[in-house]
Amino acid sequence: MKEIRIHGRGGQGAVTTSEIIVYAAVEDGLFGACFPYFGFEKKGGPVTAFVRIDERKIREKNQVYNPNCIMVIDPTLINAVDIFVGAKDNSILVMNTKSVEAMEIPNEIKRVAYVDANSASMDIFGRLLPNTIVLGAFAKATGWVSLDKIIERTKDIWGDKNVEAIQYGYDNVKILDVNGGFSNEEN
């Protein structure tokens, strides 16, 4: 089973992003399930969503405490929440950031994928809408669900511009294998 935790801010579409991943997984013939942590955050507050993907039906209905993948849609969150908490060994960080050089990457993270989604978003949309770009990066960095299915669903919900954003993320994500490197085999 792959377990993903998504960090975003209220209004950034973190929850819908998690649903798109599940959609793609299901269309790929896998099982998927996701749900948000429901606080009372209005626009601006930190938001978390959880995704599970597996070949078998997903039975657990709990938060993801030990993610294989951590997705960070807003770069400022790194100061607000402990994004690495509980990270499983051999896991992937997918992050919206200009650079990861200054970041301390814990040992459990074996792959770091990042993209400057904020800048790209200003280019594509003229405003800050980084989530689909990060989603594209996720698709590439993990390979857990197929890009077409992600695009298919995104198009349905948010239209063409966002498809462009996904593609941008997919094409421009930088992937570094760290701490000995990631292996998709073991799980």
Partner: protein, 302 residues
């Protein structure tokens, strides 16, 4: 001293940083009302945005500097009545105040409020009317105006927003023969403050203040325009600013030359789909209400 300078001297009773949306003018009204009522106040905030934004608190922390509690959605006035009765009994003069959304006031809690009004309970009831259930994602309330999009009166192939008019809550409350009823708008802040002060000083029954608040998130406009939209509501006569005091009506903001109602309606998304007929119906409704009001004020050329 200017109104602002006076207000500046009052303590804010609400904790800093409640999580209301950017530009929420219900937050503004809440802070202002409680500044006016002061520290000798107990306030109930029923479920709704203002309760949801943690003004009652979170876990074992409080959101206010005064005693604050969460009534049920449907019993705010009754709970307040119970508190007030006890304090009257022990001879302490405490302001017992509701700050409640239109859902809690005009729908689910209406009967409790009507009962308290009839009994003459000496409580202060402030309704912030943002014309819908915002906390749960903008469903219609009885205070939602005709034609408005809400998530339960959506716009689709066969419906075009809400089909009935807004319940005329201020007038209904006035008809309860309470000692004080007033409508107010944050765009006319000095007037609003004066009314909150009057409400505070009522000692012989229920005081009801109906604040026309807007909601950037639900209504669909940019956060900085909150006050502008409030003002347009008043200027179009859609949200008339008046008072009912000891049996007499008076108009406080006389809009001699109203702006066309379209100017108000089309300044936000929730009305963007409405038809010409709906606009006309809203205009007719607004005009009729205004006429009746003037008649009741007996103040046609004030």
């Amino acid at each position: 001293m200017s109104v602002a300078e006076n207000i500046a001297k009052l303590d804010d009773m609400v904790g800093p940083g409640v999580t209301a949306c950017l530009g929420c003018n219900a937050e503004l009204s809440m802070r202002m009302a409680l500044k006016v009522f002061g520290s000798n106040t107990i306030v109930g905030i029923p479920p709704g945005c203002m309760g949801g934004v943690q003004s009652v608190g979170w876990a074992d922390k409080t959101g206010m500097k005064i005693p604050v509690f969460f009534p049920l959605l449907d019993n705010t006035a009754s709970m307040l009545a119970g508190i007030k009765k006890y304090y009257e009994r022990v001879g302490r003069d405490v302001n017992v105040v509701a700050f409640a959304g239109d859902g809690a006031t005009v729908d689910a809690g209406f009967q409790a409020l009507s009962g308290a009004a009839e009994r003459g309970d000496n409580i202060i009831y402030v309704c912030y009317d943002n014309e819908g259930y915002m906390n749960t994602g903008f469903q219609r309330s009885s205070s939602t105006a005709l034609g408005s999009w809400t998530s339960t009166t959506p716009v689709g192939s066969s419906t075009k927003g809400k089909v009935s008019h807004k319940k005329d809550m201020p007038m209904i409350m006035a008809m309860h023969d309470i000692p004080y009823m007033a409508t107010a708008s944050p765009a006319y802040m000095p007037d609003m403050i004066k009314k909150l002060e009057k409400a505070k000083n009522v000692k012989n029954g229920l005081a009801y203040v109906h604040i026309y608040n807007t909601c950037a998130t639900g209504w669909g406009y940019e956060s900085e325009r909150s006050i502008e939209i409030c003002r347009k509501g008043v200027q179009s006569r859609f949200t008339p600013i008046y008072e009912f005091e000891n049996g007499k009506f008076s108009l406080n903001i006389n809009i001699k030359k109203p702006i066309p109602i379209e100017d108000f309606l089309f300044s936000m998304k929730k009305y963007k789909h409405i038809s010409e007929d709906q606009v006309k119906d809203l205009q007719r409704y607004t005009d009729e209400k205004w006429e009746n009001l003037l008649m009741l004020c007996n103040a046609t050329d004030k």
